[in-house]
Amino acid sequence: MMRSLLTAATGMESQQTNIDTIANNLANVNTNAFKRSRANFHDLLYQTVRAAGQSATTGTVVPSGIQIGAGSRLASVDKLFTEGGIKVTERNLDFMIEGQGFFRIQKDDGTIAYTRDGHFDKDNTGRLVTSDGFPVVPEVTIPQNATDLHVGMDGIVTVKVDGETQELGQVQLATFINPAGLQAAGRNLYTPTRASGEPVVGNPNQSGVGRIAQYQLENSNVNIVEEMVNMITGQRAYEINSKVISTSDQMLQTTNNVR
């Protein structure tokens, strides 16, 4: 049967994933510290009908061969960890990371997850927690009668209790060699994988993990215009590949009508 039917089908499949990825990016355009994804495509294997460089006759060399490709495939969907925009919030429990680091969060199963979403709250015991109630590691507990909560660039949290300044602890950050290898676990959380490498924990404003800025949040790094353009090209590429399928189909139909 015609190879072009299957080749075009691989193209449609690739574009389908492309649109799926773009849809998720656009759905998260207002998600705090969301990192957009990008689908990467590769070409598939080739059938070599005639190899380049072969001798056609003695003394002559075929200048370019005949290779017929089998279409495209999804190579990877990468998270792009470029920094998102800054949203000034005037809320004292909003922390933003300037730099490469991640906050460390303890999930309910005891494992550590990582996030760049610095929108924190207090739970009923005064611990600093994410909006899902997972505590920040190392734990920071805010006393009941504390006022004037302040976080420095170095992550040290101080409050005033009865007019006296008290240090509560230091928020630590972790970095990864290959953040694109982190696994997105939903709820703005990431878990390390073999691809991301082990986390390197450090104090903010030191050792290249980034600084902390209070009263700010990191926006999503999705650029709507860019995604719309990608969506248009993705949709059209899908359409074009479907055209190849219908053309192949019509050619087969013609063949069937020869007799």
Partner: protein, 262 residues
């Protein structure tokens, strides 16, 4: 038998090949740094002497498209594929702002070490492995002048000469090769190329620029490809028409000639 029926058949088979090439081009319309293919045809040469009724294939019978011509005659022409040539023009620059994305401007290719030996690619969608090695998205190390490139993290700068700097220090320089004839590069899938030619046909490129934060898009022109597809489709149809006309003539020949009419 009518030998002529094989002429439109060779044309139809050639057009089918064209559609296969176009299908691959269009399936890769969003593939990073993909280079589209162009197909060209040639007139298959016919024998000077007549050997119409030879029941055996000719001595220089080749196992390719010319298989469709079991009988040769100098007044019958056939069409075959002469070349599938890669369009080597530069693809569009896509601004990704991702520090591990690199685009090549010029004729060079990145060198990649795979388990099957050296491969070359123009696709600069690189990553950093957990050991800090710069890799392609298929997980093979990209080669610098000193071998594998250890960058430790994705925070590095690449200048137009392909020199990678981290914290102000030169880490390595990307090995970018240029070839005497790029058409000798064979595709192996995964955006990789294989070079089997002599070493003197491969030199380190001096005039290929590297741009960090960009990717090269596919150079397939969708409009051109669609037009070519329409042409292939309709030519195929026309060849089929010719075949069915031959068929009708044969039918006439076998059923009408010699028919006794009252």
């Amino acid at each position: 038998m009518l030998h002529g029926i094989y002429t439109p058949l060779s044309g139809a088979l050639a057009q089918e090949r064209v559609l296969e090439i176009i299908a691959n081009n269009l399936a890769n319309v969003n593939t990073t740094a993909f280079k589209g293919d162009n197909i060209s045809f040639k007139l298959l040469d016919s024998e000077p002497e007549r050997n119409y009724n030879s029941p055996l294939p000719p001595a220089n019978f080749k196992r390719d498209l010319s298989e469709v011509m079991p009988f040769r005659g100098n007044e019958i022409a056939f069409v075959g594929i002469s070349d599938i040539e890669r369009d080597l023009s530069q693809g569009p620059a896509i601004d990704t702002k991702n520090p591990t994305d690199m685009m090549l401007e010029g004729e060079g290719l990145f060198a990649v070490q795979t388990q099957d030996g050296l491969r070359y690619t123009r696709s600069g969608d690189f990553k950093v492995s957990p050991d800090g090695v710069l890799m392609t998205s298929s997980g093979h190390p990209v080669l610098g002048e000193r071998g594998n490139i250890f960058v430790r993290s994705s925070a590095f700068d690449v200048n137009h000469r392909g020199e990678i700097y981290q914290d102000g220090e030169l880490v390595d320089r990307l090995r970018i090769y240029e070839f005497a004839d790029q058409r000798q590069l064979e595709r192996t899938g995964d955006n990789y190329f294989f070079f089997g030619g002599p070493d003197e046909d491969r030199v380190l490129s001096q005039n290929t620029n590297v741009r960090q934060g960009f990717l090269e898009g596919s150079n397939v022109n969708a409009i051109k490809s669609l037009t070519a597809m329409i042409i292939a489709h309709r030519s195929f149809e026309a060849y089929q028409k010719a075949i069915s006309n031959y068929d009708k003539m044969l039918e006439k020949g076998s059923n009408s000639i010699g028919e006794v009419r009252a």
